[in-house]
Amino acid sequence: MSDAMHPAIAGAQPSQRAEKRPEAPLFEGAYQDRFEKILTRYPDKRAALLPVLHLAQEVRGWVSPQTIRRVGELLDLTPAYVRSVASFYTMFNLRPVGKYLIQVCVGIGCDLCRAEEVAEKFLELTRTRIGETSEDGKYTVIEVECLGACAFPTVVQVNDKVYENVKAEEVEGLLKELD
């Protein structure tokens, strides 16, 4: 990410970073610059809501009530409205997630090819349950609907990296690779 990011793409950065700064200000520095660029691309402020929530989540790691209020202030929307929209979309974490958000596709394409075994392996090795964060704060494993790469089952996305053709026996290696 650089200061020179083109306005056309400033809002299209759905990013889940390993490093999360839940208390970081919204927005400053390069993020302030991106925020302002986003606003130039739409005829009204409301339309910037999804990009700005993505931006906030990139910084803070999740969409907390404080984030919702701040985003509402920035875009002249009520907190209830922002909460309503944020809760409609599955990518906005309304609760904190681990350093690595592991999303295992269980869509029909992957399910036909035993995606559940991959998901179970992740849960077993991270010692978590679906949606819960491991005690060390490192992992949150969730099952997600079709990630749209059905020819490469099972598809797993960790933060913003996509892994294709993941087999249950490869899960351990994948987890090691993360660290």
Partner: protein
């Protein structure tokens, strides 16, 4: 190098450069003839561009198959209001992954199509609404958009034509229903992606209340070729009602899953057996869903048809998005259907009662049957719930959820009855 598989019987028009890393960047793309169609289009009258696309018979590749040129022609020409183009890159129909590959390998093909379409409909701003989960693809696309700005294909006075266009990449955030065109518009406006009641149609009142055309990625990617080579060139493939080539995303129990591009008069059975290699060794094909999980399932002996819109419809299903899901005899049909219904349950926006409540009820019954707690009366009940859901809602998601249930009961009732009688699944998964 093809990606992931290539077959000599394919007709690679859109996917010609899949797997070719050098085609991704703008220089490589221009070397391969990119942006020539744009130059040609900008030299034509706007309505002449629309006319070529109309004549080509190109139909919307998002699933509904509405003629693209006709859709463009609904846009007001008086310039009183700003017109918008929205490229629907929210590909999320289970079993469909063609737009993802088009953007991954040939982002400039898509962008060129967007610019030409925007010119034809007199839009000054276009948005690519890309599925938020496509984090890796977004990066590719972003790079390509910036390149296009740098080379003057976007921005003011494109190629000295006087025409200017801004293009903004807008990432969704996890909602299948944002792929429905009016859901997309609401989402683009910063709202819940709830589909709108039509009329008014997007061409009358779309994004931000302004006239808007929403086109699928594959539709737009088809445009440069048509503009450059003419309608007749495009019509050399396919049928009268379904001209051209189309990408089929093939997944499930296949030896060579992947995207295959074939003319629309290609045989479906050959697509499954020859191109995709059929089911894995030692397995028999049980059924095929030819157009994404929203269309009826066909049994193995119903697939000897051509893949045109009308061909698949005659066989009892729909071309839909071209997401082909193959299931072999290891498949537990109840589980597969339950999984598809759970998807729709998860993705229902919740506005309409039949969809909000019906999807989760269907899923509960299917889970119960799968657990071996089904009752014989569940079969007519599932069919009746399906009837109460189909055609009763604002958008077709409700129908989509009912389709796998109803079609699988029609064709694989034994699977259900087996679960009910035997108290669970006996398939060798």
């Amino acid at each position: 190098m093809a990606y992931p598989y290539e077959h000599p019987r394919e007709t690679r028009v859109l996917s010609k450069y899949f797997g070719d890393e050098d085609a991704i960047g703008i220089d490589g793309w221009i070397e391969r003839g990119g942006y020539k169609a744009l130059a040609k289009a900008l030299g034509m009258a706007q309505d002449a561009v629309t006319e070529v696309v109309k004549d080509s018979g190109l139909r919307g590749r998002g699933g509904a198959g509405f003629p693209a040129g006709l859709k463009w022609s609904f846009m007001p020409k008086d310039g009183k209001l700003p017109n918008y183009l929205a490229c629907n890159a929210d590909e999320s129909e289970p079993g469909t992954f063609k737009d993802r590959e088009l953007m991954r390998w040939t982002p400039h093909q898509v962008i060129e199509g967007i610019i030409i379409a925007s010119y034809a409909i007199r839009a000054q701003h276009a948005y690519i609404y890309i599925r938020g989960e496509f984090v890796d693809i977004v990066r590719v696309l972003n790079g390509a958009v910036v390149e296009a700005y740098e080379r003057g294909y976007l921005g003011e006075n494109i190629l000295g034509s006087g025409y200017g266009l801004d293009l903004t990449v807008h990432a969704g955030a996890g909602a299948y229903i944002a792929g429905e065109e009016t859901g997309l518009l609401n989402s683009l406006e910063g709202r819940r992606a709830e589909p709108r009641v039509k009329p008014p149609f997007p061409a009358q009142r779309g994004a931000f209340g302004m006239p808007t055309t929403v086109n699928n990625v594959e539709t737009l990617a088809s445009v440069p070729g048509i503009v450059e080579n003419g309608a007749d060139w495009y019509r050399q493939w396919g049928t009268e009602k379904s001209p051209g080539t189309k990408l089929f995303s093939c997944c499930g129990h296949l030896q060579r899953p992947g995207n295959y591009e074939v003319p629309l008069d290609f045989n479906l059975k050959e697509l499954v057996y020859d191109l995709c290699g059929g089911p894995p060794e030692g397995r028999e094909l049980l059924g095929v869903i030819p157009g994404g999980s929203s269309v009826p399932i066909l049994t193995a002996d119903e697939i000897d048809c051509d893949v045109s819109y009308e061909g698949i419809e005659a066989a009892g299903s729909f071309l839909g998005s071209g997401g082909l899901i193959a299931m072999d005899d290891s498949t537990c049909m109840v589980r597969a259907v339950r999984r598809m219904v759970e998807f729709y349950d998860h993705e229902s926006c919740g506005q309409c009662t039949p969809c909000r409540e019906g999807t989760s009820w269907l899923a509960k019954i299917l889970r119960r049957i799968e657990r071996g707690e089904g009752r014989e009366e569940d079969i007519p009940l599932l069919l009746d719930i399906g009837a109460n859901m189909a055609g009763k809602t604002i958008c077709p998601l409700s129908d989509s959820a009912a389709v796998p249930v109803v079609s699988s009961i029609q064709k694989f009732e034994d699977e259900y009855m087996g679960h009910i009688r035997d108290g669970g699944c006996t398939a060798k998964r």
